[in-house]
Amino acid sequence: MSTTKTAPAQADSSPVRPRWQTLLIRPETMTFMLLVVGVFGGSVLSPFFLDLSYILRSFTLYSELAIVALVLTMVIIAGEIDLSPAANMALSACIFAWAQASGVPIPLAIVIGLLSGLAMGALNAFLVIGLQLPSIIVTIGTLTLFRGLAQVLAGDKSIRVPEWFIGVDKIMLAGIPLPVVLFIVLAIGLGIVLGGTIFGRNIYQIGTNEVAARHAGIRSARIKSSLFLLVGLVASVAGIMTASRLGSVRYDIAAGGELQMVLMAMLGGTYIFGGRGTILGTFLAAWLLVIVSTGMIVANVLPAVQLVVLGGLLIVAIIATNLIYSRTQR
């Protein structure tokens, strides 16, 4: 055995793995198979699961988080993390709602909401890239700050939005709720950016080896900053959509959403240490999460158990992803 092992060591590279094998041991494949199992299991549990419109309606509840998770995936691939977007959603929704409640016309209020989201992203970018502070702790801080400011703004009350603004999730495009359409469109768009453009490619390169990326002329600070800004902006879009879906805004909307966003990315095979992951993975993982959550609701599982399942799933997902990557790569 040792002879056969050492002989190729003198050759210039190890033999390449068959194509099917590389495809099969991708984490996205795991996510996809779990999704199939989930749908199948769910349909045994309840006929609802074969009803596409039911699943789509369930998805709208998670669509805002899923939209942000798509961008978050890119941040994690670039080797950073952002725990603040859920709090950003709450704060920008509160700013939007507060603005329109104080008489600002709705379109302007939306712009203000979006700008505030962008500003929150800029704060993260300044602290992480400008001041070179670790994004883990920085975004724990900004998460607390944003959520806290939302609470200052809204207090313990909820701010209502006008009747006509309510119900973005009831708008159907070809039978699909608008937030879901937005999620799909954004997934396709970001998927193309990440997989097909230089910008996307640079994200992987920075996450794989930032020093080498700088030596190859990639402006990593610029790219990472733009990702934090994009998360901020998309989070505010998600926040305002949440306001429209719920019809009112409280400081605690999307509470705990950071867990679900990170979970979607991890479950989709994004590597926590950067450099690997795909939009497709997160896209599939979002559906998987909806199936699992809806399944638990249909099966009358206590919300508490759902918390346990989500937390457990996150840990299992990173263990599995780490294992897959360490197997396929030396």
Partner: protein, 508 residues
């Protein structure tokens, strides 16, 4: 001190070490005697540091055995080495910067339980005793952070004494020290020797070796060449033994026509790293930059390329003064830089070979904004053909390739940018002899195409065979500019080895 009279403290027999597939140490036999200061000499990569690290448990030997006081021992880790009484002192000591000096001496060493009390008073007393013994004044209650390198080294020596080490290995300890600090260190080393301890001293500086050491062992290309009493060897002998290898005509330099100045550097300074560096490289010219590791050569290259810009001085490309603060600007100006440490600054280990090749030419790769796979594949295939890169597939992770082929891929990356100026930093390090020869002819061809090449190398034969001129750096300064006709290994070495007396004279 005669070899036969005293029983050796350490007997190493047949020590060999192989990294990946490269033999870095072959069949070394060496006895270290109690009460001697023993120098290990050799060029960079000759194997002396590897040998020292094997003694200290940092590396495990691939072959061979070590005996301590006649008993065979397995030095499996630095912790084990410490227990056996062997301490390695790194050039820049590894310590716990937030802990006090006294704690750094003993942390991890105590055998008693987790929850046993830390005897602060006793610890401080003992630390002060050791400092007195060494005759240095360091407040042992202050944190390690903020100590000068010299003081950190003293703390390391004190740590060796605290664990009552019989063998203390100093790996190029004097490089970062001032002349006075070197004197202090030497006095202490002599004192320790007189106590019967063994000191292994690794250095490039012949004067220091002569002033301090009793015996020397010379390494070359992973082999032990000679061990002798220092008095028996002249400087010329030592240099001859160190380089000794016959200068093979690795390559014939194809007669490139040397043209205009392509790269000109004037007064480049980065305080504490290098100062007042001025030179120029013409089109079609290969200029070597020699010197010892740590002389500041890589820092100059990084400054030119904008990775770590210099504090002052100017860089001109094709006669135009430019300001480069980021590698992307350097690339736009037609510069290319193959960095010294491939794994850290060169490759994207887990990404495909073709991605690694195409990374520096985004505009060619994605003219309309979207990456064209066909273009990328063509770039990759072209590179594979031209540089004969051996691989299974362009889509396999570059980490799966051998070092030489990784390096070729990096070179291919830069050739795509069609650079006017190429800076190659140790381009053949860790590469098989056969592939090295290929690199040499490629470098010659690149020059023949009219590109200016700055070649940083620690391998003298490489510099001499390839370069039209050899610049030499020593301790952050340019010390020589030797034309090809007068370039010899001795001449380069003489300029590279820092001479205490001359630097002191210059400073005075």
């Amino acid at each position: 001190m005669t070899d036969t009279a005293v029983a050796p403290l350490i007997s190493a027999r047949g020590i060999g070490k192989t990294f990946a597939t490269v033999d870095v140490l072959r069949d070394v036999d060496l006895d270290l005697l109690p009460g001697e200061i023993h120098a290990l000499l050799g060029e960079n990569g000759a194997g002396k540091s590897t040998f020292a690290k094997i003694l200290a448990g940092v590396h495990r030997p691939t072959r061979g055995s070590i005996a301590l006081n006649g008993k065979p021992v397995e030095v499996t880790s630095p912790v084990v080495a410490q227990k056996l009484g062997i301490t390695l002192i790194h050039q820049e000591p590894i310590s716990f910067p937030d802990l006090s000096v006294a704690e750094n001496l003993v942390i991890g060493a105590a055998e008693d339980g987790w929850f046993s009390r830390v005897p602060w008073a006793e610890m401080t007393r003992e630390a002060n005793r050791l400092m007195d013994l060494l005759g240095v004044r360091i407040d042992v209650t202050r944190p390690m952070r903020g100590l000068s390198i010299a003081d950190q080294q003293m703390v390391e020596i004190a740590r060796a004494l605290a664990s009552n080490s019989r063998l203390i290995i100093m790996d190029e300890p004097t490089a970062p020290l001032t002349p006075r600090e070197v004197e202090t260190l030497f006095a202490i080393a002599r004192k320790l020797r007189d106590e019967g301890r063994t000191i292994v001293f690794i250095s490039h500086r012949l004067e220091e070796v002569r002033a301090l050491c009793d015996r020397v062992t010379i390494f070359r290309d992973g082999n032990k060449i000679a061990t002798d009493t220092i008095g028996n060897l002249s400087d010329a002998d030592i240099i001859r033994l160190m380089i000794g290898r016959p200068v093979k005509e690795y390559m014939h330099k194809t007669g490139a026509t040397i043209g205009e100045v392509a790269l000109e550097v004037e007064g480049l300074t980065l305080p504490g790293v290098f100062s007042d560096i001025s030179f120029s490289v013409r089109k079609g010219e290969i200029v070597g930059l020699g010197g010892l590791v740590g002389a500041g050569r890589t820092d100059v290259a990084k400054a030119i390329f904008g990775v770590t810009p210099a504090a002052s001085g100017t860089v001109s490309i094709n006669g135009k003064r430019v300001s480069i603060t980021d590698p992307s600007q350097a690339i736009a100006l037609g510069l290319a830089f193959v960095p010294e440490d491939r794994a850290v600054a060169g490759i994207f280990r887990t990404l495909s070979v073709e991605q690694n090749i195409s990374v520096a030419v985004p505009k060619q790769l994605a003219p309309g904004g979207f990456i064209r796979r066909a273009v990328e594949r063509a770039m990759g295939e072209d590179a594979v053909r031209k540089l004969s890169i051996r691989l299974a597939s362009l889509r396999q992770p570059i980490g799966e390739l051998s070092g030489g082929n990784q390096q070729k891929a990096i070179l291919a990356r830069w050739l795509l940018t069609d650079p006017g100026v190429l800076i190659l930093d140790e381009p053949t390090r860790g590469i098989d002899i056969g592939v090295k020869a290929e690199f040499y002819s490629i470098i010659g061809e690149l020059a023949a195409q009219g590109r200016a090449i700055l070649l940083i190398s620690s391998e003298l034969p490489e510099l001499l065979a390839l370069c039209d001129r050899v610049l030499v750096m020593s301790e952050g300064r340019l010390t020589a500019d030797i034309p090809r006709s007068r370039a010899t290994q001795e001449a380069v070495m003489r300029a590279a080895v820092p001479r205490r007396s001359t630097t002191e004279g210059a400073a005075a």
